[in-house]
C-alpha cells in the first residue's frame, strides 16, 4: 500500500514502456457523443416499427374486473391492444428469488397484470400503434373496470395481523428476514460506559437516468430470431431471460446495447415493460419500441432505499466501540425484482454495518416486507449509504457521548492498515484496506484543525457550519458469491477477445458494457499497453451478445476490475502470439523481442526490427514464407473471475463542510473531500469523475431526492419538477485523493470505484449537519435533510 502516485514496488506488466495504465487519456467515444452522433436506443427506428404504450393502474392495489378496448382498438394508427392474460400466453411469469438468500419469497410477476394491479403504475394493458402519440390517444379510450383494494402503504405496519396480505399464497408480507449475531453483544453493551442509539430513516429514491428506459425488440419470424436493442448493463443476462420466458433458445436471442443514457443500476433489472415489449414483438411479428416517458420512469423504474434502521453502539470511555446492533426494516413493493431480487439491499446493510471498524461484537436483524408501491431493487451503492449512515451516525453519537473528536474516535477504531487479511463480524473478508492512511490524507487535504478553528470562530458570530466525516467500505469485483451461487444466470466472469488485423489494427471485444463509466477507454488503455501500440490503433466493441465474449456486463463496480483483468490477460496472450510470429520471421528468440509504439523491437536495445503492419502483412498474405509448421494466431481470448476473495473490498473516507441557515433550515454545501482506495488506477480522471458523480448522487439522497407516497400508495411527486435531483448551482466542488492498495486477485490490481462516492456522501453530510446543529442540541437521523426537517429539529416550527 502506497500513496498515489508513487511507483509500485518492482516492475510489472503495468509498467511497460509507453503504458497507458495510470494515465488520464481521453475516452475514445467522447467526440461522437459531443457531436450529437451517439446512438441511444431511444434514437433508433426500424422498418415497420410500432410503438407500445402501457396503460397503467391508477390504484396502488386493485382488482381488474374487465377491460373494454373496443373503441380504442378502432382508433387511427392502433395495431393491437393486448391485455395481461393474452400476453401471458407468449411470456411466462417469473419469481425474483435466490436460493442463497434463505427464506426469500415472492410471487409470480407477469409482463402485464393479469387480474390484479399491485402498485400505482403497474401495466394493465398494452396499446401498440404506429406512433407513441396515437397509442396515447387510444390509451385514453381503454376502459378498465377496477375494484380498488386496500393498499399496504406503510412498511411499519406491513406485518401487522390487521394488514391485508398482498399475496395470500405467501402467507404474510414478509419477503425476507436475516438475523446475525456475532461475538458477545449483550456483554459488550452491559460493560459499555455509554450506549448510544438512534433510528435512522432513509427516504425512497430512484435513479432518474436522463435517458429513460428504452427497448426496441425485433422478432424476425424468417430468421426465428429476436434482436433486442436495449439500454442495459447486462446484455447476456437479458439474453438468457428473454429466451427463457419467451420459449426461445438463447441462440435465438441477440441483445445489442449501444449508447446508454445513464444507468446507475436502474438498467440492470428485468422490467415487466421490457418483457412485454419483447413478447409483443413476437406476438405481432414486427419491431416494437418502448421508451418510458418521465412519469412512467418515476412510477416504474426501480426505486431504492426506503429503510428504517434502528441502531445502537456500545462505547468505552477511552473511545473503543465494542458493539454495534441494528434492526433494519425495508419495504420493497409488491414483488421481489427479477432476477437479482429485492432482498440484496437489506442483506448488504447487515453485511456492511460496522465494516470499517475493529468492533468485534455485532448483532443485526433485517426484515424485508411487501407493500403496494413501486418495486425497489439495486441502485448505485446498494445498501452502502444505509450501512454507512447508520455506522457513522452511531460513531459520531459515541464520540459526542464521551466528548471525543470525531476524527479521533475513528482513528481509535478503524481497522489497522497492517491487520490484513482479516474478516468482519459479518464474515466479510478484507484483502488489504487502508483506512488510517485514508483518514490521515483526508484530514491533511481538508486541513481539519484549521477548519475546526474556523468553525468555532464563525459559530461565535452566529454562523453555523458543520464538519462531517464518514469512513466506508465498498463491495466491488463480485465473484459468483453475489448471484451465481443463488442460482441466477448472471455471469460473474468476463471475457475479452483481441485480434490484430491485416493492417496491424487491433480489434477488441469485451463483455463489459459502457454507460459512460469509461469501459471502452480503459479496455483500450489496457490492451494498448499490453500490446505496445498507440491507443488510437485499438478499437473496442461492447454490448452485443452476438459479437462479444460471454460475460456479466457493467454493474457492482466490476467492469474495470474483472473486465480489465480479462483485457490485460488477452492483451498479454496476443503479445506472446505476435512475438512468436515475429520470432519465426526474424529467426530470433521471442524472449529477446518486444513491441513498442507499434513496432517489434529488440528488447535489450530498443532497436526496431519490424513494424506490426509488416508483420501482419506477412502473417495474413504471405504465410507461405513462414517456417513450416508455424501457424500464427493473431487472436487471443481470455476470461477472468476473481477467485481468491468473494469480493474485492475497497475503502475510503469522505468529509463534508457545510453551513446551515438556522433561520430557514437551508443547507449550503461548501466543500466535499473524498479519499478512496480502488487499488490500481487505470485512468485517474475516470476514477475521479466516477467518485464525483457518485458523491453528487449521494448528496441528492442526502438533501433532495424522495419518492413521496401518500397513505393510499400514490406517488405524489412523479415529475421532474417535483422530484428534486442535484443541479449545478447547489453542488460543491469535490476534492478527490487516493491511496493505492492493489488487489492481488489478478495481475491488474484494480478494484471498483463506481459506488464509493455514493456510499459515504449522505452519511458525512448528515454528520456535518448534526455537527452544525450541535449548539442547539438538535440531531436529525433522517434523509433527505429538508429545510422543514431542520426547522422542526430546531424547534422553530
Amino acid at each position: 500500500m502506497t500513496d498515489a502516485p508513487t511507483t509500485r514496488p518492482g516492475l510489472s506488466e503495468l509498467d511497460r514502456p509507453n503504458s497507458y495504465i495510470g494515465r488520464a487519456v481521453p475516452r475514445p467515444n467522447l467526440k461522437r457523443l459531443m457531436q450529437g452522433r451517439g446512438q441511444y436506443v431511444s434514437d433508433m427506428s426500424l422498418p415497420r416499427m410500432a410503438h407500445v404504450v402501457f396503460l397503467r393502474s391508477p390504484y396502488a392495489h386493485a382488482r381488474i374486473l374487465g377491460i373494454d378496448s373496443a373503441e380504442a382498438a378502432a382508433m387511427p394508427g392502433v395495431i393491437a391492444i393486448v391485455t395481461g392474460p393474452e400476453l401471458a400466453k407468449v411470456c411466462t411469469p417469473w419469481v425474483g428469488v435466490l436460493s442463497h438468500l434463505k427464506g426469500l419469497k415472492s410471487a409470480p410477476q407477469y409482463p402485464i397484470a393479469v387480474d390484479r394491479a399491485c402498485w400505482q403504475g403497474e401495466a394493465v394493458a398494452a396499446i401498440v400503434a404506429t406512433s407513441r402519440a396515437a397509442a396515447e390517444d387510444a390509451a385514453e379510450r381503454v376502459m378498465v373496470d377496477y375494484e380498488e383494494l386496500e393498499p399496504v402503504a406503510d412498511m411499519r405496519t406491513a406485518l401487522d395481523a390487521a394488514t391485508p396480505v398482498i399475496h395470500p399464497e405467501l402467507g404474510d408480507n414478509l419477503a425476507f428476514e436475516r438475523n446475525l449475531d456475532a461475538g458477545a453483544v449483550d456483554a459488550a453493551f452491559a460493560e459499555a460506559d455509554h450506549v448510544v442509539e438512534a433510528e435512522f430513516v432513509f427516504g425512497r429514491h430512484t435513479g432518474v437516468t436522463l435517458e429513460p428506459r428504452s427497448i426496441l425488440a425485433d422478432w424476425n419470424p424468417g430468421d426465428e430470431r429476436l434482436t433486442v436493442y436495449q439500454g442495459t448493463q447486462a446484455p447476456h443476462m437479458m439474453q438468457n431471460i428473454f429466451a427463457k420466458h419467451l420459449a426461445l433458445d438463447e441462440s435465438q436471442v441477440r441483445v445489442v446495447c449501444k449508447d446508454v443514457g445513464g444507468s446507475f443500476g436502474i438498467k440492470v433489472h428485468v422490467y415487466a415493460d421490457d418483457m412485454a415489449t419483447a413478447a409483443l414483438s413476437k406476438l405481432l411479428r414486427r419491431p416494437v419500441k418502448f421508451v418510458a416517458d418521465r412519469l412512467e420512469s418515476f412510477n416504474t423504474d426501480i426505486h431504492a432505499r426506503d429503510h428504517r434502521c434502528k441502531g445502537r453502539a456500545a462505547v468505552k470511555a477511552d473511545g473503543t466501540i465494542t458493539a454495534f446492533e441494528i434492526d433494519d426494516l425495508t419495504g420493497i413493493g409488491p414483488y421481489s425484482v427479477y432476477p437479482r431480487t429485492s432482498a440484496i439491499e437489506a442483506n448488504q446493510v447487515v453485511n456492511l454495518v460496522g465494516g470499517p471498524y475493529t468492533t468485534p461484537n455485532y448483532r443485526a436483524r433485517a426484515r424485508v416486507v411487501f407493500q403496494n408501491k413501486n418495486v425497489t431493487c439495486q441502485y448505485r451503492a446498494v445498501g452502502h449509504p444505509i450501512a454507512c449512515s447508520v455506522t457513522e451516525g452511531l460513531v459520531d453519537l459515541a464520540a459526542a457521548a464521551i466528548g471525543m473528536d470525531p476524527a479521533d474516535i475513528r482513528r481509535r477504531n478503524l481497522i489497522a492498515d497492517d491487520a490484513y487479511p482479516c474478516a468482519s463480524p459479518s464474515g466479510l473478508r478484507f484483502e488489504a484496506l487502508s483506512h488510517h492512511a485514508a483518514l490521515d490524507k483526508l484530514l491533511a487535504m481538508m486541513d481539519y484543525s484549521a477548519l475546526r478553528a474556523e468553525q468555532a470562530a464563525l459559530r461565535a458570530k452566529g454562523i453555523h457550519r458543520g464538519i462531517g466525516l464518514a469512513s466506508f467500505i465498498e463491495v466491488t469485483n463480485p465473484s459468483p458469491a453475489f448471484y451465481g451461487v443463488g442460482g441466477a444466470r448472471i455471469s460473474s466472469q468476463d471475457g475479452v477477445a483481441v485480434r490484430m488485423d491485416a493492417t496491424g489494427a487491433i480489434i477488441c471485444q469485451t463483455s463489459i458494457t459502457e454507460q459512460g463509466q469509461g469501459s471502452e477507454a480503459l479496455t483500450a488503455q489496457i490492451v494498448a499497453s499490453m500490446l505496445g501500440v498507440p491507443m488510437s490503433r485499438v478499437r473496442v466493441t461492447l454490448g452485443d451478445t452476438d459479437n462479444t465474449p460471454y460475460g456479466g456486463g457493467t454493474w457492482a463496480s466490476r467492469g474495470a476490475g474483472i473486465g480489465g483483468e480479462a483485457a490485460l490477460q488477452a492483451g498479454k496472450q496476443l503479445r506472446r502470439n505476435i512475438l512468436a510470429a515475429a520470432a519465426s520471421i526474424l529467426q530470433a528468440d521471442p524472449d529477446t523481442l518486444d513491441i513498442r509504439d507499434g513496432k517489434i523491437i529488440d528488447a535489450a536495445t530498443g532497436a526496431e526490427r519490424v513494424p506490426l503492419e509488416e508483420l501482419a502483412r506477412i502473417v495474413y498474405y504471405r504465410p507461405d514464407t513462414l517456417p513450416p509448421g508455424f501457424q500464427a494466431e493473431m487472436m487471443a481470448v481470455r476470461h477472468f473471475v476473481p477467485r481468491d476473495f468473494p469480493f474485492a473490498f475497497t475503502n475510503g473516507i469522505q468529509a463534508s463542510w457545510l453551513e446551515v441557515d438556522t433561520e430557514t433550515g437551508f443547507i449550503t454545501l461548501l466543500n466535499h473531500w473524498v479519499v478512496e482506495d480502488c487499488g490500481t488506477i487505470i485512468n485517474p480522471q475516470l476514477v475521479d469523475e466516477q467518485i464525483r458523480g457518485g458523491v453528487v448522487q449521494g448528496l441528492g439522497a442526502a438533501l433532495f431526492e424522495h419518492c413521496r407516497y401518500d397513505e393510499r400508495g400514490q406517488l405524489t411527486n412523479a415529475t421532474m419538477a417535483d422530484y428534486l435531483v442535484p443541479m449545478a448551482a447547489e453542488m460543491p466542488d469535490i476534492d478527490v485523493g487516493h491511496i493505492v492498495s492493489p488487489t492481488k486477485d489478478g495481475e491488474l490490481g484494480a478494484k471498483g470505484a463506481g459506488e464509493a462516492g455514493t456510499a459515504g456522501a449522505a452519511a458525512c453530510v448528515a454528520n456535518a449537519v448534526n455537527d452544525a446543529l450541535s449548539p442547539f442540541g438538535a440531531r436529525i437521523t433522517e434523509i433527505p435533510l429538508t429545510p422543514e426537517l431542520i426547522l422542526t429539529a430546531l424547534g422553530r416550527i
Binding site: 402519440a133 396515447e136 390517444d137 385514453e140 412519469l295 433550515g665 433532495f704 422543514e788 426547522l791
Partner: protein, 289 residues
C-alpha cells in the same frame, strides 16, 4: 408523453386573436411563451380544440416609458425584461424577480403576459404586479379595459380574464424618488418554484417605511398582500415592531400544506423574509430575526 391533438392558428393581430377566441368558445386558448401551457399539454393535464398563437403579434412586444409609466407589451419575454435598461431603472423589483424565474432557455421563451394570465400562485411575477401597483390592459370583443393587479388575480390559476379576452399590456408606475425594492425567495434549487417569496416596495424614511407594499408568493392560492404588517412597519423600527409585523402576517396569509412545505414552515419563512426585507430597506446590517 405526447399532447392530445389540437388545432393551431397564428393570429396576426390582437383583433384577430380575439375573434378566434370568440369563435373557439371555451375550447380555444392562447399560446404565449408556452412554457407552462406546453408542459400541461404534453402531460395531458389539459386538452383543447384550438391553440391561438399570439407570439407573432409585434404590437404586443416591447417596453417603453411614457411619462411616469412603464408600458410593457404582454408578449415581452422574461429575457427581454432581464436585460432592459428601462426595467432596471424604473422597475428594479421586476428586474430582481425575473432573475429567479426558471432558467435561461425558459426565459428566452416565457412572456410576462403569459405568466400573469396563468396566475400561478408560486410565480414571482403576479406578486411583483401587486407590489408595483400594476394596471393590466385587457382587450376583448367589446374593446379594451384596464384592471388593477389587485382585481386581476382571483385565485389558483384564476384571473379576471374572460375566455375571449387577451391581456395585452402591463402598465407600471415608475419607481418614485425615495422608493426602494426588495425581492427574495426561498427555493430548494436555483430556478425552482419558491416555497415562499416576497416582493416588496416602499419608501424608507429614517427608521420607518412608508407606502410599503408587501406581497408574498408561494403562500396560499394567489399572491398575497399583507397590508396589516405593512401598516405596522410605518412605525419607527424596533425589534418589537418587527415582531408585531411578523405576527400580523398570520392574519393576511393563508399558507397551504403541500409536499414542498407545511403551512407552519411557510409562515415561518414568510416572517424570516419580512425581517430580511425590513433590514434591507432600512439599510441595516443583516441581523437574525
Amino acid at each position: 408523453m405526447k399532447a392530445a391533438a389540437f388545432n393551431y392558428a397564428r393570429a396576426a393581430s390582437v383583433d384577430e386573436a380575439v375573434q378566434m377566441l370568440v369563435r373557439g368558445g371555451g375550447g380555444a386558448k392562447l399560446l404565449a411563451g408556452g412554457q407552462s401551457l406546453l408542459p400541461a399539454l404534453n402531460l395531458r393535464l389539459m386538452s383543447l380544440d384550438l391553440l391561438v398563437d399570439i407570439t407573432g403579434i409585434a404590437a404586443l412586444r416591447g417596453i417603453r416609458v411614457e411619462g411616469g409609466t412603464l408600458k410593457i407589451g404582454a408578449m415581452t419575454r422574461h429575457a427581454d425584461l432581464l436585460t432592459s435598461p428601462e426595467i432596471a431603472a424604473h422597475a428594479p423589483l421586476l428586474a430582481k424577480a425575473i432573475a429567479h424565474v426558471a432558467h435561461p432557455a425558459i426565459r428566452n421563451r416565457g412572456t410576462i403576459g403569459g405568466n400573469l394570465a396563468h396566475a400561478d400562485p408560486a410565480s414571482e411575477l403576479p406578486a411583483c404586479m401587486l407590489a408595483l401597483g400594476a394596471t393590466l390592459v385587457i382587450q376583448g370583443p367589446s374593446g379594451q379595459r384596464r384592471v388593477q393587479a389587485a382585481d386581476f388575480f382571483l385565485g389558483l390559476y384564476q384571473t379576471a380574464l374572460a375566455p375571449d379576452e387577451i391581456l395585452i399590456a402591463i402598465e407600471l408606475p415608475a419607481l418614485a424618488s425615495g422608493e426602494r425594492a426588495f425581492f427574495h425567495e426561498y427555493a430548494r434549487r436555483m430556478g425552482d418554484y419558491a416555497i415562499v417569496g416576497l416582493a416588496a416596495q416602499g419608501k424608507p424614511a429614517g427608521d420607518r417605511i412608508d407606502a410599503l407594499r408587501l406581497v408574498y408568493f408561494g403562500v396560499g392560492e394567489r399572491a398575497g398582500s399583507c397590508p396589516a404588517a405593512a401598516r405596522i412597519l410605518q412605525q419607527r423600527h424596533s425589534p418589537a415592531i418587527l415582531a408585531e409585523a411578523q405576527a400580523a402576517l398570520a392574519a393576511d396569509l393563508q399558507p397551504q400544506n403541500d409536499h414542498q412545505a407545511s403551512a407552519a414552515m411557510r409562515l415561518h419563512l414568510a416572517r424570516t423574509l419580512l425581517a430580511r426585507c425590513v433590514n434591507e430597506l432600512l439599510g441595516r446590517a443583516e441581523a437574525s430575526a
